[in-house]
């Protein structure tokens, strides 16, 4: 087994781990706020649930990049492929954008979702506007996802 495969796998793992951590934090903190609102006003359940789920997308993006990476290096075929170290390092670098941006944006989107849940608690009819604020943070996770996918799929293996 070459060290290149290890680096490529490390990249896939980091994409899942870091982006997943960001989402777990974001969904967790938004879930606490959602619970607080539902404890007093159960009729807001659907609205606050949507806001709670917004920071969950980073984890999915990380999973997507990891899946593409595993597919790209041929690991899903059942055999361990031979990848040289420079290629492995390139794949690792390609996975980093979604990993790092997923972690940071997941945390910040979670906090913004908490603030948006506060808007829903006070003015439930302003749900549409409230949802836009955390959705803005998503932009940067999508940009990182695009770069990771473009990079991973264009590295010749």
């Amino acid at each position: 087994m070459s060290l290149g495969v290890v680096f490529a796998l490390l990249g896939a793992a980091l994409a899942v781990i870091l982006a997943g951590m960001g989402s777990a934090y974001g969904v967790g903190v938004a879930g606490q706020a959602a619970s607080g609102v539902v404890a007093e006003d159960p009729s807001q359940f659907a609205k606050v649930l949507i806001l709670q789920l917004l920071p969950g997308t980073q984890g999915i993006y990380g999973l997507l990049v990891a899946f593409i990476t595993l597919s790209q290096i041929g690991l899903l075929g059942g055999s361990i492929p031979a990848i040289d170290i420079p290629t492995g390092l390139m794949i690792l670098a390609a996975c980093l954008p979604i990993g790092i941006v997923g972690l940071v944006s997941g945390r910040h989107q979670g906090k913004t979702a908490v603030a948006a849940i506060g808007i829903v608690a006070k003015k439930p009819d302003q749900f549409g506007k409230a949802m836009l604020f955390p959705a803005m943070v998503e932009t940067y996770a999508i940009l990182a996802l695009l770069i990771s996918i473009l990079a991973v799929t264009n590295i010749p293996v």
Binding site: V29, Q32, A33, G36, E40, D41, A115, G118, K122
Partner: protein, 323 residues
């Protein structure tokens, strides 16, 4: 606890803020022809419980209980509210000392939900084992008890305990991490000093008495304030106009009730930004203060209605609302 740990509690408070009385609701209350109509309107807005009698005291006490029950349900460290609970604890100390020094039992003199309870404080004082009291209370309790026993001067006893209350609030405010608690403690002590100065001026108290009653704080120089109080109310206003309490000086010149209202409104102005803070303990403290302000305002309206005061004079006394 970090700021993030208060996320659940703050979100719950955001929902509860919807049921706080706003200026329109207060106007509706003022427009009610009788105290009974006011109580009915409050009951319709969810005040009291199904088993709460339609009486002012019962309803207002129930609302205070509800506020503290809500805070306890949040699962947060209740010591953050020490600054707010000290006045009730020291009231219990004052009542316990008086109860120990006179004959017979007088039920209903203590605030409930305090730690230690009024009955516990009374037992400690009867045993003269002051070290069992909380540290911030022990020395003042002993001094006040001995003063009352030796001199039978109730006012002096009250001055000692009131000063200890302010000192405890100020120390807790200085120690608190939350900026709102620091501001609240500073304002509470400064306003209390101003009130002492005004009352001392009206009753011609000595400089020594004022210095004994006043508590040092960052925003006022109590020496200058006390010396101003030796002259006149105008001298107090003149001194205050050069401090952060310049607005208070104008209210003081208007009337004592206008000054009381200004003090409460200042606290509401300080806490209002917390309506937009999604994290930290500060929105919780703001909610408790807003509820206290609301209950105080309703109490003013109810007693005004019970005494058939005209609407205009009620409006003069009504506080600014948090929402």
């Amino acid at each position: 606890m970090s700021d993030i740990d208060f996320t659940f509690a703050v979100a719950r408070i955001r929902s509860l803020e919807n049921s706080l009385l706003n200026a329109t609701a207060i106007e509706q209350l003022i427009a009610c022809p009788t105290e009974e109509n006011c109580l009915q309107l409050l009951a319709e807005k969810g005040w009291g419980d199904s088993d709460t009698p339609l009486e002012a005291d019962a309803m207002l006490n129930r609302e205070t209980e509800k506020t503290w029950n809500t805070m306890r349900e949040m699962g947060i460290d209740m010591s953050v509210f020490d600054v707010l609970s000290y006045p009730n604890e020291f009231h219990n100390l004052k009542a316990a000392i008086r109860e120990t020094c006179r004959k017979g039992k007088h039920p209903g003199i203590y605030y409930e939900d305090c730690e230690p309870s009024g009955e516990e404080i009374e037992k400690i004082i009867a045993e003269k084992d002051f070290s069992k009291l909380p540290e911030y209370m022990a020395a003042a309790a002993q001094e006040a008890y001995e003063t009352l026993m030796h001199t039978r001067d109730g006012q002096l006893c009250d001055v000692i305990i009131d000063k200890a209350t302010l000192e405890a609030i100020y120390a807790a405010g200085k120690k608190a991490k939350a900026g709102i608690l620091k501001s609240y403690a500073e304002d509470t002590v400064a306003v209390a000093d101003i009130k002492i100065a005004v009352r001392s001026q009206k009753t011609a108290k000595s400089l020594e008495f004022m210095k004994k009653a006043m508590v040092e704080c960052d925003s006022l120089n109590i020496d200058l304030l006390a010396r101003a109080a030796l002259n006149s109310v105008d001298a107090i206003c003149e001194y205050l106009s050069g401090t952060a309490y310049a607005g208070g000086a104008e209210a003081l010149a208007e009337s004592p009730s206008a000054f009381e209202r200004w003090c409460d409104n200042k606290i509401i102005q300080t806490i209002k930004p917390q309506k937009y803070n999604p994290f930290s303990v500060e929105p919780l403290v703001a909610y408790v203060l807003a509820r206290e302000n609301e209950i105080k305002t309703v109490r003013i309206i109810l007693s005004a209605k019970a005494n058939n005061l005209p609407e205009d004079s009620i409006r003069e006394r009504v506080r600014e609302m948090y929402v």
